[in-house]
Symmetry: C2
Amino acid sequence: MVDTRRGPRRTLSEQAILDAALALLAELGADRVSIRGIATRVGIAPNAVYTYFPDKAAVLAGVAEQLVGRVDAARFTGPARSWRERAHAVADALRAELLVHPGAVHLLLTSPMTGEHATTLGATVLAIMTDAGLDHEDAARAAHLLNVHVLGSVALTTDGADDQFRWGLDRLLDGITAHTP
Amino acid sequence: MVDTRRGPRRTLSEQAILDAALALLAELGADRVSIRGIATRVGIAPNAVYTYFPDKAAVLAGVAEQLVGRVDAARFTGPARSWRERAHAVADALRAELLVHPGAVHLLLTSPMTGEHATTLGATVLAIMTDAGLDHEDAARAAHLLNVHVLGSVALTTDGADDQFRWGLDRLLDGITAHTP
DNA sequence: ACCTGAACACCGTTCAAGT
DNA sequence: ACCTGAACACCGTTCAAGT
């Protein structure tokens, strides 16, 4: 029994679209996330998706935002732990989030991350690097470097490879430490 | 005047397919490289491409191989320059190659790099890291780390951002240096 | 082996129209 | 504003058949 009535049903929202996209991502992988698949899942015609998002890229950007939003940035603020411990922790948390969604990395590597969650997480990492003793400019570069390492590592390794990730992260943080005054 | 005859024409090869794919990549971007587009460009029916490659993924893997083959690995071997200079040089060369082909990075991040060119370039970077004084296991990790940095940086930055790339690379090499006995 | 023609099962997106 | 139906311009891939 498919509802074929037209007009608002007041049962949908942007979030419902994103939830469907995330479910598709988890079940079928990144290359199988389609507008038509999302539409079927939420029970509307394919083109009705365009009521909520301007195009597919916007949907995928929303999914990416959703994913980075799942890592709780607040856990890595404040001087309770050393900057290095916190850097390790954010990197691990983001990586773990990406590993559970196969192909999700490519979304983050493609979509320009300008959303709210991405911004706050970026600010958190920036604060960590500032705590490390870097000036504003270097802190921004270090934050970007950490991001590159996390996303690059996940994208480039098929299996787990925890060891290689952590080894690289430690070299990277050593290099940053050596650069502080 | 389109040739509609069937049978071998002896005018095509795997290389011709890859050349067409590379041209499409340069002209239209990565998401516009299609089997049908390649077929049109070389003047055959779309399905005739499957005579040369088993599927699209194989074509894209071939393109990725072609691209890494363009960086001349031999230029970075031997003890003429220090390991650090050579590490800088390979990283720059690979990055430069990826920057001229928009979207090419995603090919390297997606296709498993098992080709001949990829293998020799990997061996070259491994040798550089061995020259740095690392044992076999750490040299492999350092080589992978460099790869992650180059591909991650290119994928994650829209504009040039030479500065950020080099800064990160220097931190990374500092960290590796500090880890040598 | 190398090719064509036709088809299958998909895509993203647009347009006109209904509520 | 939110939705449907139909269409447009594409995809990758397979199958049968011709040379």
